[in-house]
């Protein structure tokens, strides 16, 4: 069902929504940007319509709503192990406002956490099952986006789609509570979601990447340029790697916890084994590992590319390394070209 809402109508709708649900979306943190005098646009709690930022891409992705940067798995106390519990506020139904690329990214995270291996990840599942999505339609794309190339400009699995247009908000309600909210706060209207049809950036993903290209000199450029800061993976909406660590509390060594924290294949230590053996010490090799995971390995395993073309990794890289350019170079090499 489609509805047309005035800004006041949508504001009232959200005011009602936040009384019973946690709502997250792109919000602005004034003065918190990476450069002096800039704002940080990232995911945060939404208390009302005024909080939602419509005209910018977030620096970080919405994944941390259901895959926190740091999460306690269980607690140790005098030989007893107790599983961590969610706070009452964390088991509320959660609504996330996100773009089509990021919604596609959730399906990638689901593949790893819910499908890969012998068992589902219960810590991911317990947050994910309460998380619902509202699609923020992109009428045009941001600089550096290449969702059309990745086939992620369209999305499914959301409860509602929403876009500002002509001084109103157009809502496509696909499930409750949006059907009844639309009924109460808007006027019925014909609403079809719009999708980005063209990005200024086009990326050609190679159909396959031969292992012969693993030693290609194209990776050497990254050996010196990449500083292994890991920003690209931490801002990526599909990166799912983590490390598990045990800690005990300094004031009571009998008690402690096992927790997991985000990890990055780009940062030193990712492959370290006891005894000193490690692989991919060279940063060019790490770049190759990451790029091929995003556009080749994952697809061979799950049938879809991991990368959703959001462009964040390139935007946050302090060395201006372009993921898109690297993929296009690979395509040219696979087609017998000399590369960019």
């Amino acid at each position: 069902m489609g509805y047309k809402l005035t800004p006041a109508g949508l504001a009232a709708l959200l005011d009602e929504l936040v009384t019973s649900r946690r709502v997250f979306g792109p919000v602005r943190y004034a003065g918190k940007g990476r450069l002096a005098g800039t704002d940080l646009i990232t995911y945060g709690p939404v208390k009302g319509l005024a909080d939602v930022v419509w005209d910018a891409r977030t620096t970080f992705s919405p994944k941390e709503v259901f895959f926190p940067v740091k999460e306690s798995l269980f607690y140790f106390s005098h030989g007893e192990i107790t599983e961590s519990a969610l706070k009452a506020s964390e088991i509320l139904e959660t609504v996330v406002f996100l773009r089509a690329c990021d919604l596609n990214a959730v399906t990638r995270l689901d593949k790893i956490f819910l499908e890969n291996g012998p068992a589902a990840d219960n810590y991911y599942a317990r947050r994910r099952q309460h998380t619902h999505f509202v699609l923020m339609e992109c009428q045009e794309s941001f600089p550096g986006c290449f969702c059309v190339s990745m086939g992620t400009n369209r999305a499914t699995g959301h409860q509602a789609a929403l876009r500002p247009e002509g001084g109103y908000y157009l809502l496509q309600a696909l499930a409750e509570p949006w059907l009844s909210l639309g009924e109460r706060y808007g006027q019925p209207a014909d609403v079809e979601p719009v999708w980005v049809q063209k990005n200024s950036l086009t990326v050609k993903v190679p159909d396959r990447v031969d292992t012969s290209l693993f030693q290609h000199e194209l990776w050497r450029e990254y050996s010196s340029r990449c500083i292994a800061c890991g920003r690209c993976t931490l801002s990526c909406p599909t990166c799912s790697c983590f490390s598990v660590q045990d800690i005990f509390y300094r004031d009571n060594p009998e008690r402690g916890e096992r927790r997991r924290v985000w990890a990055s294949c780009q940062i030193d230590g990712f492959t370290d084994m006891a005894g000193g053996h490690k692989v991919r010490e060279d940063r060019g090799e790490r770049m190759r590992f990451k790029v091929l995971h995003k556009i080749d390995d994952f697809r061979r395993r799950f049938g879809i590319n991991m990368c959703v073309g959001c462009g964040r990794c390139e935007e946050v890289c302090p060395e201006y390394i372009s993921f898109a350019r690297c993929v296009n170079t690979l395509s040219q090499l696979m087609n017998g070209g000399a590369g960019a």
Partner: protein, 266 residues
């Protein structure tokens, strides 16, 4: 996707240490009370709360127990070496692929193992020691750094009486009358049948060069199985640390047919 109905795959179960047998100054074999029934070549995650968790391959198993031979090289293993019989450790698993018994049946089997690489094949060798009729011969090629590093001495002495066994050390010591040299140097001394099945387990370089020697002897990659060492951190295909190409070593490995393993490039 109802999380409160999903078992917690990260939750380890307590297991009592039944016995600790030092093999060398830095390698101890722990016998742990558990119902885990691993296949040959599988691993478990062993942990000590507050210290951490480590993937360790199972060196032997029997009714109600498993054995892990653990070298003291890191934080968790150093803490494990402080334990005494009766103490409690925490286990989850078993994880990963094991060695394919069906592929070996009726064939000559050659096991080439270096150092702690002997641990994941010890149970397999002991099984064939009791069921020699399942194979058309078993040859062992075992290498250690020095005589002081030799693991499973009593087992090896028994195997030497049952199968053609080459035991070598990289560096001899005064009083060592056995063979000296790398495992790779002795591959050509093994009389190989055309259809022999080969297992190679050990440090990465040992695997690389030993496999190359077998291939020089007209053994096809499909006849060779290797066990890879990676940081198998969660064991569940989630954390990403052990991934190579599209493969998760903790799921599809650590045991791989070499026709697959040779295409895995870090």
């Amino acid at each position: 996707m109802i999380a409160n109905q999903i078992a917690n795959p990260y939750l380890p179960a307590p297991a009592q240490v039944l016995a600790i047998q030092p093999q060398t100054g830095v390698d101890y074999t722990f016998r742990l009370a558990t119902d885990i029934e691993p296949a040959w070549g599988q691993f478990v995650e062993i942990s000590l709360p507050g210290v951490g968790e480590a993937p360790i391959s199972v060196s032997d198993a029997g009714p109600g127990y498993i054995e892990l031979t653990i070298r003291r090289v890191g934080k968790v293993t150093t803490a494990l070496h402080q334990l005494k019989p009766g103490d409690t450790v925490y286990l989850r698993g078993p994880y990963g692929s094991g060695f394919p018994r069906d592929e070996f049946a009726g064939h000559q089997l050659v096991v080439a193992a270096g150092g702690t690489g002997v641990a994941p094949v010890k149970g397999l060798i002991n099984y064939y020691a009791g069921h020699p009729g399942e194979l058309a011969g078993l040859n062992l090629l075992l290498g250690f750094k020095t005589p002081a590093d030799i693991l499973f001495r009593t087992d090896i002495e028994r195997w030497q009486g049952l199968f053609p066994t080459i035991l070598t050390v990289d560096q001899g010591q005064a009083g060592w009358l056995g063979k000296v040299g790398l495992v790779t140097e002795f591959v050509k001394e093994i009389p190989l049948k055309n259809d022999a099945r080969i297992i190679v387990v050990g440090p990465p370089l040992m695997i690389k060069f030993t496999v190359a020697e077998f291939i020089k002897c007209q053994i096809k990659p499909e006849q060779i199985w290797v066990s890879l060492e990676r940081r198998m951190h969660c064991g569940l295909g989630k954390c990403g640390h052990c991934k190579i190409n599209d493969v998760y070593v903790c799921l599809e490995g650590p045991v791989f047919n070499y026709s697959r393993a040779r295409d895995l490039v870090d």
